[in-house]
Every structure is written in structure tokens, then in C-alpha cells.
């Protein structure tokens, strides 16, 4: 039989080799296309089957894991008795259940613990952490951190951070400057959350940028993490070569109203990058830095429009009243619509007797178009 088959194949090959080249190629590609289609169908069905199996497994395991957490942590009889968390012990029999030895189950357990820890603080949160450590899940996370796959490292960082497990600087600091932006952001977030003494140490060594999305993430972490030491961010404004760090620090300076940083921010007004300068002007406005007004007004005419608009906004925020005439002139004589709008808003924002008188005077003397701008800016239904 095998000989017959071999002969048949040989004959087929002989016939095939007699065909023109493009027909040979077409036949090969038909075979490839049919196989690829079948594999694709198989993959679609396999993926769906796998997902269904996983869901069933999850449905089976979840009650077991939930029971473990409820019994060992939530209903732990030692809670609320002023017993130090380190001295609370779990039922070792429950923890050594064979089912918790499987890597997939341990991962589900970690994910569940993290979900719980996000919802529980205080003693319960600490006891969840202890369960994570006692079940040696911390080693699972560190093993992930040591892999080469960046996405696995990120998962480990998230787990360790959520469980408040310290990671050594030698392991974490290099990752904060990784060329992979996602890994870099995750490790920087982890560093801020885990480093109790110098959470911003990586600012000194960071050469890679903090992307705007990462800034948002980091901003939330900084402003919501308890017991974090907030430094004077002006040190990076003055000395960092990394523009994104300086921009981020400007935002933090404004948020924490660090008035002592004003001199450092003022120095940035001389920088060549106009986007950078605009950020500095915005920061000064948010700090209500009256000291900066003269400088801002004196450099105004040489600035591009984005910096001019930030200057007008800043003058409106500071609202000292010293430059109302300047704002009035900008409103009346500028050819740029956005400049006019922002000048009008800045005058309105002063909300003083002089500014109100000035607005009345403008409304009586100026043309209809300008009057419309003022009415637009005064209308409480229109926010901007």
C-alpha cells in the first residue's frame, strides 16, 4: 500500500513539474490558502472554546477563593482586637490546599486579592497583604519581574505595587528609564508608590520622557497616595535636562501651590521653546504670581500667539488690577480673535469695581462685534 502511495505521489510530482511556473505557484498558493483558512477557522473555534473553558474554570474556582478570603481575612476573629497584623496567623490547612499549587489558580488568586485590596484599606487591607505573602504569591510576582517579556514585567509591577511589596532600587530604577514607554511608565508609577523616602529619585536620572498619558497617571498616584513626601519641585525646574519632567513639575507646582518655586519658574520665561514657555506662564498664572506680571507684560509683544494667550489668562488669574489698561488695549486693538476673547475674559475675571466700569465704558464706545465678544464672555451659560 505504501509503495502504491509513493508511486502515486511521484506521478503527481512528475505531472506537477511539467506545468508552467505560474500554474505551479498558483497550485502551491491554493494549498497554502486552503490550509490557512482551515487553521483560521480552527483558531477562531479554539479561542472561543478556550475562553469558555476558562470562564467555567473561573466559575468553579471563584467560590473557593472567595471562601478562603472570607474565612481567613474578612471574618478573621482577630480583626479589631488591636493585635498586630504580623501576629495574626492563618489556618495553614486551608492555605495548603492542593488546588492553590497550580500556577493558573495562583494567578487567579493574585488577581482576586488585588481586587479585594483595592476595596479594603486598614487592617483588612493589611491582612490581605499578609495572605499574599504567606501563600508565597509574592515569589510568583518576583519571578514575573525577572522574565524578559516586558508585558509580564508590567503585570508583576502592578501586583507588587498593589500589595505594597518593596522592590530594590537596583531592580526598579533601571526600569524607570527603559526605552519601552509602557514598561517605563509602570515602573515609574511603582517607584513613586513603593519608595517611601525618595519617591521622585528617578527624576534625577530620567533621560526618557514622561508622556502626557503617563503624566496623568503619575499625577493621580502622587496626589492620592498617602504618606508620600512631596518635595519642592522647583529643583527639577531649575536643573533637569528632561523637558517633560520640567513640564510635569510645573503642573505639580501649580497643584501644590508651591509659592517658593516662583523664582525658578520665572527663569523659564527666557527659554527658547515657546511650548515650554507657555507652560511656565500658565504655571505662574495658577500660582497667582503677582511678581511675574511686569515681566509677562514687558515680553508680551515678542511672544507667539500661544504664549500671548497664556499671558492674558495669567493676568486674569492674578487679577491685580495693575494691567487692566493693557488688557483693554489688547481687546480693542488686537487683530486676533482668540487674543480678543482672552483679553475680555481676563478683564471680566478681575471682577472689581474698576474692571466693571471699564467693561461698561467699552460696551458704550466700541463696535457691535466687540460688544458681542463681551456679551459672549459674560454669559454664564457659555463656559469658554
Amino acid at each position: 500500500m505504501w509503495n502504491d502511495l509513493a508511486n502515486l505521489l511521484f506521478l503527481a510530482y512528475e505531472q506537477f513539474s511539467l506545468l508552467p511556473l505560474f500554474i505551479e505557484i498558483a497550485l502551491i498558493l491554493i494549498f497554502v490558502a486552503v490550509m490557512a483558512t482551515l487553521i483560521a477557522y480552527g483558531s477562531i473555534l479554539f479561542r472561543r472554546y478556550n475562553s469558555s473553558v476558562y470562564n467555567k474554570r473561573l466559575a468553579h474556582l471563584s467560590p473557593i477563593i472567595e471562601d478562603l478570603i472570607t474565612e481567613q481575612v474578612l471574618l478573621n476573629e482577630n480583626l479589631g482586637k488591636d493585635i498586630p497584623i504580623e501576629e495574626i496567623h492563618f489556618d495553614q490547612k486551608a492555605l495548603s490546599n492542593k488546588i492553590f499549587r497550580k500556577p493558573a489558580v495562583r494567578q487567579i488568586l493574585i488577581d482576586t486579592l488585588i481586587r479585594y485590596r483595592k476595596n479594603f484599606r486598614g487592617e483588612v487591607g493589611e491582612l490581605l497583604r499578609k495572605l499574599y505573602i504567606d501563600m508565597n504569591l509574592v515569589e510568583d510576582s518576583f519571578a514575573k519581574l525577572r522574565t524578559f517579556k516586558w508585558e509580564t514585567k508590567i503585570k508583576a509591577l502592578v501586583e507588587l505595587t498593589q500589595m505594597d511589596i518593596p522592590i530594590s532600587d537596583s531592580m526598579l530604577l533601571p526600569l524607570t528609564n527603559s526605552v519601552n514607554p509602557t514598561l517605563r511608565a509602570a515602573s515609574r508609577n511603582a517607584y513613586i508608590q513603593l519608595s517611601k523616602n525618595e519617591p521622585f529619585k528617578f527624576f534625577d536620572v530620567a533621560t526618557e520622557p514622561i508622556l502626557p498619558w503617563d503624566q496623568m497617571e503619575m499625577f493621580k498616584i502622587i496626589t492620592t497616595t498617602k504618606d508620600i513626601t512631596i518635595p519642592n519641585f522647583s529643583r527639577w525646574v531649575s536643573y533637569s535636562n528632561n523637558k517633560s519632567i520640567v513640564v510635569f513639575c510645573l503642573k505639580l507646582i501649580a497643584y501644590y501651590d508651591q509659592q517658593t518655586a516662583i523664582p525658578s519658574v520665572l527663569e523659564l520665561l527666557g527659554t527658547k521653546d515657546h511650548r515650554f514657555r507657555a507652560e511656565a506662564i500658565k504655571c505662574l498664572g495658577k500660582l497667582s504670581a503677582e511678581i511675574a506680571e511686569e515681566k509677562l507684560v514687558s515680553m508680551y509683544t515678542s511672544q507667539p500667539v500661544n504664549c500671548q494667550i497664556e499671558t492674558l489668562k495669567a493676568l486674569g488669574r492674578i487679577a491685580s488690577g495693575k494691567h487692566l489698561e493693557f488688557l483693554k488695549n489688547e481687546f480693542l486693538f488686537s487683530n486676533n480673535f482668540d487674543v480678543q476673547m482672552n483679553a475680555a475674559r481676563a478683564i471680566i475675571r478681575h471682577n472689581s469695581q474698576i474692571s466693571r466700569l471699564m467693561l461698561n465704558e467699552i460696551m458704550e464706545t466700541t463696535n457691535e462685534e466687540n460688544q458681542l465678544i463681551i456679551r459672549h464672555c459674560q454669559n454664564p451659560l457659555i463656559k469658554y
Binding site: L29, A36, I44, R48, L211, P212, F337
Partner: protein, 509 residues
């Protein structure tokens, strides 16, 4: 060489032309199939990268963040009185901290505006409107007196006979740095703004590098100018008050083919282009744009029939002309569901317009084609669209004519011809099935495997039913473009989203 010269000297003119045509078509077809194959590989890389990158992303942080950039949602409406209220309510419920919804009543002749005014407690406001982009005159602007609707702005303008004109008016009023363009009757995911703004905020900026012993700042800023996401058909899906409840492939055959076509075009095509930073366009149904660049590029062209691709082309050309690096991004997840035409008449009108729009676009921006000055746009995107989008229906049609000629003159080698047809057929089925597999990798939109496989099986029918229609309407569009036939915007009978299908609205394309 001698063989070729001998051959050409022996044959008649028609023989030579026939042979030349056969070889040219063979080369063309082979290169097209290779291009699809390459796109399939590129898209897989792009999808995997997106999934890995965003696996641990916490999108909720943006909801509370004071650093979130503002977004203006722009949705033109023409005679949408039947569904306008639920659609606007849906747009007002995005998960995002800083956005406004701008509805442009584009001279509706029904009660669209009256319904908006009454439902959302709108009053006319003194609005300092400045026309940065050309559009038909704006008559009035409304804001709500109810603080619950403070994000809503309604523009009442004279009908401009195009979505582009209305969108331009919306951009003129938009206050934020980014705008999202959509159709008011589309169903959008609640996280659309979060998912689409992320690529803008992930753009690399400057890096500090050591150069000759000094730490120097290296600017490597590639500005993201637009971002899009996958669209699907809303036909047969369950929708409740503008919220997607259950996704299903359309039951009717025409939208079902379109669903398959959209998945292939977005998940395989756009994501493949995304991998090499050559995304040709962002769909008119859903796209987020950098407002500054869009305005500088001149906004939408109200005379263009492919206004979405035209805008991206001009934005890209503007960036190149000003020596600025840019990118257009795509996300592989479905964020928008739109109603596909269910009748051949409406479908034909839509595809004829698309065909004509493509011809118009290529003609308008012909200076970009093969121009090294425009980088990837000039050397990849435009040549691809010229050869494989614009010329494909023409070559296909000529090929069919040639085939008929060969059959009639009994010159055809049937066994070889059948092998080649089977080859093209199996390859086409393979590419579509792979696209559907990639789609499954991103998210399992369909609840049952039957729905998934059911859609996959459409790939077997496509070459016989759907594809000839596409070719025919594209050729009709080219013909209309060549003879300069006046374009009229037709009505699309809306079926409504949720069952039972009881709502009917009229919309001008």
C-alpha cells in the same frame, strides 16, 4: 531578450497587446495579493502591540484627572427628528471629564431643532462666532439653561448640502484642542473619548541623550494628528436609549456583507497601515482630530465626496509642507456602530459616491502621487490607492471583457484558467477569514460561535454576490466623475436600532 524581440516581431498588434495585457494583469494581481498578505502580517503585529500595551492601562484615571485634554464632539444632524433626542442623550453620557457636544442642525426641514430646544431647555445665546473654516451661514447658537446639559451646544445653520459643511461650522464653535467627528445616528461606546485620546497622549516627545559627552535634548516629536477606530453595523444589534446592549452580525444579507467588509478594512487594512505609520484615512463615522492642524489644513472640503480621506490627506500634506513629523493612529477595537444600507438602491448610491469621491480625491491631490517630498503618503499610501483601489475595478472589468473575448475565440486554456480562478478565490476567502480571526483576538463581540462562523462563511459568497456589486458601483462613480454628472445627496431610510423596528427617520447623506 532576443526571444522577446522575435516574439513581438512575429505577432500581430492584437496578439502583442493580448500577451502584454495578460502579463501585466498577472503581475498586477500578484502584487495586489502580496500587498494583502503583507497587510495581514502587519496588522497582526499592530493588534498584538496594542493589546499588550493596553492590557494594564487604567482608563479610569483620566475620568478624574484635571490634566485630561478637552474634546469637542461634533455631530451634524439633518432631519433626524425621530431619533435626535435619544441620540443626543447618548452623546452626553460619555465617560470623560472634559467634553462638549456640538449638534449642528444643518437646515433640517422637520422638527429636529424644535425637539432639541424643548427637550434640552435651550435658549439662543449671544455667541461671538468666528468663521475659521468656510461653511454656510450660522443663524443661531443655543445653550441649555439646565445645568445638566451644560455640555451641549446646538448650532442652527443654513443647509450646506454636505456633512463637511456642517462639520466645519462645528469646528468653528469647538472650544477644545481635539474634536471628534461622528454622525448623530451612530451608536458610540461610552469609552470612545478615552480610548481615542490615548494615542494622542502616548506620542513620544523629547529625549535626553548623551552626545559627545554632553547631555543634550533630542527632539523626536511625532505629532498624532488623527485617530480612528473600527466601525461595525448596528443592524440587528440590540440598542436601548443609545446604549449597545448586544452585538450581532446583521441578519440581512447586504449589511452582513458590509459588516464583514468593514472588519476586513479596519482590523486588517487600517491596523496594517498603522504599523508602518501610513494610515490613509480616518472614517467619517468616527474620528478624532487635532483641531489646530485640521484648521490650518483648511478643514473639511464641502465639495469633496470623500471628505474624510481628503481631510487626512490635507492634514498630512500640511505637516509635510511644514517639515513636521506626524502620525495617524488606529485602534483595533470597535467603538462605533452605524446603520448600513439594507436596500440595493441606497447601497448603490453610497458606493457610487465613494467611487466618485476616490476619483475626485486622486485628481485633486495628484501632485502627492509618487512625490518623494510627501514621504510615505506620496510613495506608499497614494500609489496603493491609485493602483489597488482606483484602478482595481477598471482592470477587473477589462479582465472580464478579455476573458469573454478569449472564450469566444476559443483561445482559453480551461484547466489553467480554472486553477487561477480557484487560486484567487481561495486567497480572497483566506484574507477575509484571517481578518475575522484578528478581530476575534481583539474582542469577542459576538456571543455565540454560530454568529462568528456564520459571518466567516460570508467570505465564500462574497466573490459571487457582493464583490461584483462593489465593482459595478465604483465604475459608475468613476463614470459620473468623468462626465461631471451633478451629485445629489439622497435619502437614507433609517430602520432604527432596537427591536421591534418601529422608528423611521430620513437622513441626507
Amino acid at each position: 531578450m532576443k526571444v522577446i524581440i522575435d516574439f513581438f516581431s512575429r505577432g500581430t498588434f492584437w496578439d502583442v497587446l493580448g500577451i502584454f495585457f495578460q502579463y501585466a494583469v498577472f503581475l498586477y494581481g500578484t502584487s495586489l495579493l502580496i500587498a494583502y498578505g503583507v497587510l495581514a502580517f502587519l496588522s497582526l503585529g499592530s493588534i498584538r502591540r496594542y493589546m499588550k500595551k493596553n492590557a494594564n492601562a487604567d482608563y479610569n484615571i483620566i475620568i478624574e484627572s484635571p490634566l485630561a485634554p478637552g474634546i469637542s464632539v461634533i455631530a451634524p444632524a439633518f432631519n433626524e427628528g425621530v431619533t435626535i433626542i435619544s441620540n443626543v442623550r447618548s452623546l452626553l453620557t460619555f465617560n470623560y471629564p472634559k467634553f462638549e457636544v456640538i449638534i449642528i442642525n444643518d437646515g433640517s426641514t422637520d422638527d429636529t431643532l424644535e425637539k432639541l430646544v424643548s427637550e434640552f431647555e435651550l435658549v439662543q445665546v449671544d455667541y461671538a462666532y468666528r468663521e475659521k473654516l468656510l461653511s454656510k451661514p450660522v443663524k443661531r447658537i443655543f445653550k441649555s439653561t439646565n445645568p445638566a446639559y451644560d455640555k451641549l451646544v446646538v448650532i442652527d445653520k443654513i443647509n450646506g448640502k454636505s456633512k463637511a459643511d456642517a462639520s466645519n461650522a462645528g469646528i468653528n464653535v469647538a472650544i477644545y484642542d481635539y474634536f471628534l467627528c461622528t454622525d448623530v445616528d451612530c451608536i458610540l461606546d461610552k469609552d470612545t473619548l478615552i480610548k481615542l485620546i490615548k494615542p494622542f497622549m502616548d506620542a513620544e516627545t523629547s529625549t535626553v541623550r548623551e552626545v559627545n559627552g554632553d547631555m543634550q535634548i533630542q527632539e523626536d516629536y511625532k505629532r498624532v494628528i488623527a485617530c480612528g477606530a473600527t466601525l461595525r453595523m448596528v443592524n440587528s444589534c440590540d440598542v436601548d436609549e443609545g446604549l449597545m446592549i448586544r452585538v450581532r452580525p446583521p441578519r440581512r444579507i447586504l449589511p452582513r456583507f458590509q459588516e464583514m467588509e468593514y472588519i476586513r478594512a479596519f482590523v486588517l487594512g487600517k491596523m496594517g497601515w498603522d504599523r508602518i505609520n501610513s494610515v490613509p484615512n480616518v472614517s467619517g463615522g468616527l474620528g478624532m482630530f487635532d483641531k489646530d492642524i485640521a484648521i490650518k489644513a483648511g478643514g473639511y472640503d464641502s465639495l469633496s465626496l470623500a471628505e474624510d480621506m481628503d481631510l487626512i490627506t490635507r492634514m498630512g500634506a500640511f505637516m509635510t509642507d511644514n517639515n513636521k513629523k506626524y502620525s495617524v493612529k488606529y485602534v483595533p477595537i470597535t467603538l462605533c456602530w452605524t446603520e448600513g444600507p439594507t436596500t440595493l438602491k441606497v447601497f448603490g448610491r453610497q458606493r457610487t459616491r465613494w467611487g466618485r469621491g476616490l476619483a475626485q480625491l486622486m485628481s485633486t491631490h495628484r501632485k502627492i502621487l509618487f512625490s518623494p517630498r510627501y514621504g510615505r503618503m506620496g510613495l506608499i499610501v497614494f500609489p496603493y490607492h491609485f493602483f489597488y483601489e482606483l484602478l482595481a475595478p477598471i482592470i477587473e472589468f477589462l479582465g472580464i471583457l478579455f476573458y469573454i473575448y478569449l472564450i469566444l475565440t476559443q483561445q482559453i486554456n480551461w484547466p489553467y484558467a480554472i486553477i487561477l480562478i480557484v487560486f484567487v478565490y481561495t486567497y480572497s476567502v483566506m484574507i477575509t477569514t484571517i481578518a475575522l480571526l484578528w478581530d476575534q483576538i481583539t474582542f469577542k463581540y459576538y456571543k455565540t460561535w454560530g454568529e462568528t462562523i456564520g459571518l466567516c462563511l460570508m467570505a465564500f459568497l462574497e466573490p459571487f454576490i457582493y464583490h461584483p456589486l462593489i465593482v459595478f458601483f465604483a465604475l459608475k462613480g468613476y463614470f459620473n466623475f468623468i462626465i461631471g454628472k451633478k451629485h445629489t445627496w439622497g435619502n437614507m431610510q433609517r430602520q432604527g436600532f432596537s427591536q421591534p423596528k418601529r422608528r423611521t427617520a430620513v437622513k441626507a447623506g
